[in-house]
């Protein structure tokens, strides 16, 4: 493909993907059931992933596509199964403070769109380089090592914490038994 045609095609794809991302995002909150909402959300992520790829951030796009979308969906379904019975497929529309929310959304959109449209950002396009991903890797293990490690620790803490909270059983029987504040009055025989 020629450079010009390349750009037209990618522009076209961007518009399609961008529109898809927005429309699917909107559908998330218009879905009849939580499961459908989760799928719409996944679709939105996929659309954004496409845009990322179009921007030559192939790796990120794929990560987003595969890891995030998948993880999101799985967890959402898990949640729905856990909480909604039967299976969360019932039609639902559970909203509150609807007008306020619309106003807030619109204001957020307008504000950030204004930033995008009228704000001057430095112009320094990324050169289309083949080693983008490799550079990311070098960054991760080089200058931004600490950041990377911090992210790792955060994920570790999340795992420990999530298990500690959510896991129903532990080494000593039901995990949550006794997990309350100390009683206000002493049990008989106990000395203060």
């Amino acid at each position: 493909m020629g450079r010009g045609g390349d750009r037209v095609l990618s522009d076209l794809l961007f518009w399609v993907a961008g529109a898809a991302a927005i429309v699917t995002a909107w559908r998330v909150f218009r879905a009849d059931s939580m499961v459908r909402a989760a799928y719409w959300l996944m679709a939105s992520f996929v659309a954004v992933g496409v845009v990322l790829v179009l921007l030559d951030a192939d790796f990120l796009g794929l990560v987003l596509l595969l890891m995030m979308a998948g993880e999101m969906t799985i967890m959402a379904v898990f949640m729905v199964m856990f909480m909604m019975n039967p299976a969360g497929l019932n039609p639902m529309m559970m909203v509150h403070q609807h007008r306020t929310s619309i106003v807030a959304g619109v204001v957020a959109f307008l504000g950030l769109a204004a930033v995008g449209l009228f704000g001057a950002f430095p112009v320094a396009p990324a050169l289309s380089a083949p080693d983008t991903t490799a550079r990311l890797g070098r960054e991760l293990l080089g200058d931004s090592m600490l950041i990377f490690e911090t992210a790792g620790v955060a994920l570790l803490a999340t795992m420990i914490g999530a298990i500690a909270i959510a896991s129903g059983s532990g080494r000593y029987g039901t995990a949550a038994d006794g997990s309350v504040e100390p009683p206000a009055e002493l049990a008989s025989g106990e000395t203060p």
């Binding site: 930033v115 009228f118 803490a157 504040e181």
Partner: protein, 475 residues
């Protein structure tokens, strides 16, 4: 590149310690779980020692400019670790019946690690992740009473509000990256300074969004709402932790961040001043009629955030700003441990009415409550007084006399609700049988924190002088 691992010694000790505690908790039998507390204390003490050894070195940025090892950060680490030691001691008997007692300390250490990292963060991404770590840990800790309806509710609210503001923060960070082309503070400093007036809008929006993100961690308006709920609902030792520790780190992070923002363009100084004013006022008036001491302490924590923000307002304009910041944080954290510690010792009983005649049954606890609350007010010679003195001096010096005046008015208002707690303690007759006490670990923690509040106040010079020399990089 080289890896200056030595600069991270305190952090690594905390991380390693957390892992060790976790492993201990997994293998130790139930009756030995409390030993995890001793381990955690050792770890924290080790981290403090490591921090102190770092103090003798030069103040510098490390890890390619993403992390600061400067006076402010190191003092922040000391405050965080010391506070956490106090919280650990408060937790031993409180969580004794919990089957996951041991893991609690691992999470506590990880959350403290998040705070420590946040205090040193000199990069927007580092800041974001450190905050994430601190917040995540805190959320789990708040929910740690898995059978407590109030704890669960508090955790959800904490989490939801945190997630929202975190999203705002992230978007703000992205905008700042777009403006400066980098995320290190050094880069921000030079990058933002170059911008023309057409970039004002993005800069303003980004500043606002980042500020909201930090406001959550600080417990400042408009993201303060979790604080009273958590203070009331969370396990009392955890309440002490989350009202003191993340705030310490976030205030330092905010100071570090605003120091690199261009002075005139974004107008962060008046903005923070307004935030401080609204926060302290709201916290104070909302605390007025609280009958639940824990909740009252939560609201008072909101107002204290407002006072703390005053130091940030004065940053760069007054030589008192940095001493004020650090001293205030130390005084606040210690008094918080003491005040919540009293609640812990009283087995979480927080109804004001039940404190009637406390002085007769537990004179030393009553004294601790008196000292900590009066320190919040700023009565000399307690630590809170020197803190307020430095804060007021700093903002007046910076030309924000009105903020000092407002803080004064707020302080007067605050007397009302603190006295509302103290009056029954000292003046009323006991209602019935005296409240039973929790064990001696908690008592020891309260005693230490109370003594520290007094000593820090009387010998204010030690910390003030050291803080005077502390720098805040890369501002």
């Amino acid at each position: 590149m080289t890896m200056p691992v030595g600069d991270l010694l305190p952090e690594l000790i905390l991380l390693g310690g957390a892992v060790v505690v976790l492993i201990f908790a997994l293998i130790a039998p139930r009756h030995l779980q409390a030993w995890a507390a001793a381990l955690a204390t050792l770890v924290l003490a080790g981290a403090m020692v490591a921090t102190i050894t770092l103090m003798s070195g030069p103040e510098r940025l490390t890890f390619a400019g993403t992390y600061a090892v400067d006076g402010v950060a190191l003092w922040g680490k000391l405050i965080v670790c010391a506070t956490t030691i106090g919280v650990v001691a408060l937790s031993v008997e409180w969580f004794a019946s919990d089957p996951r007692h041991g893991e609690y300390y691992a999470l506590l250490l990880l959350s403290a690690l998040g705070a420590v990292l946040l205090a040193g963060a000199a990069d927007l991404m580092q800041l974001t992740l450190a905050m994430l770590l601190a917040t995540t840990g805190a959320a789990v800790l708040i929910a740690y009473h898995r059978r407590s309806r109030r704890a669960g509710e508090a955790a959800i609210k904490f989490y939801l509000l945190g997630a929202l503001t975190n999203s705002a923060l992230v978007f703000g960070v992205v905008l700042l990256f777009g403006l400066a082309g980098t995320t290190t503070f050094e880069g921000l400093h030079s990058g933002l300074a170059r911008l023309g007036s057409a970039s004002l809008l993005p800069l303003v929006v980004a500043t606002g969004l980042v500020l909201v993100g930090l406001a959550f961690e600080l417990g400042a308006v408009p993201a303060h709402a979790w604080l009273p709920d958590v203070a009331e609902g969370a396990p009392a030792p955890v309440a002490a932790f989350v009202t003191a520790v993340p705030k310490t780190a976030a205030l330092i992070a905010l100071a570090r961040l605003v120091a690199v923002l261009p002075e005139g363009a974004a107008g962060w100084r008046p903005l923070v001043a307004v935030l401080a004013a609204v926060t302290m006022t709201l916290g104070n008036v909302a605390a007025l009629w609280q009958d639940d001491v824990r909740r009252l302490l939560g609201w008072s924590a909101v107002s204290q955030t407002g006072y703390g923000l005053m130091a940030v307002v004065a940053l760069g304009r007054s030589s008192l700003a940095v001493p004020a910041l650090l001293y205030f944080l130390a005084a606040y954290a210690l008094a918080t441990v003491a005040a919540f510690g009293v609640v812990v010792v009283l087995r979480g009983q927080a109804d004001r009415a039940r404190y009637a005649g406390l002085v007769a049954a537990h004179p030393w606890l009553a004294l601790a409550l008196l000292v900590s609350l009066l320190s919040f007010v700023g009565i000399p010679p307690l630590a809170g007084f020197a803190a307020k003195l430095a804060l007021f001096g700093a903002v007046i010096d910076a030309g924000y006399g009105w903020l000092a005046a407002l803080a004064v008015a707020n302080t007067v208002v605050s007397v009302f609700y603190y006295v509302r707690v103290l009056a029954p303690v000292y003046l009323d007759e006991p209602l019935g049988a005296p409240l039973p006490r929790l064990g001696s670990w908690a008592v020891g923690s309260v005693a230490l924190a109370t003594a520290a509040v007094v000593l820090l106040g009387v010998w204010a010079n030690g910390l003030l002088a050291a803080a005077h020399a502390a720098r805040i990089l890369p501002g």
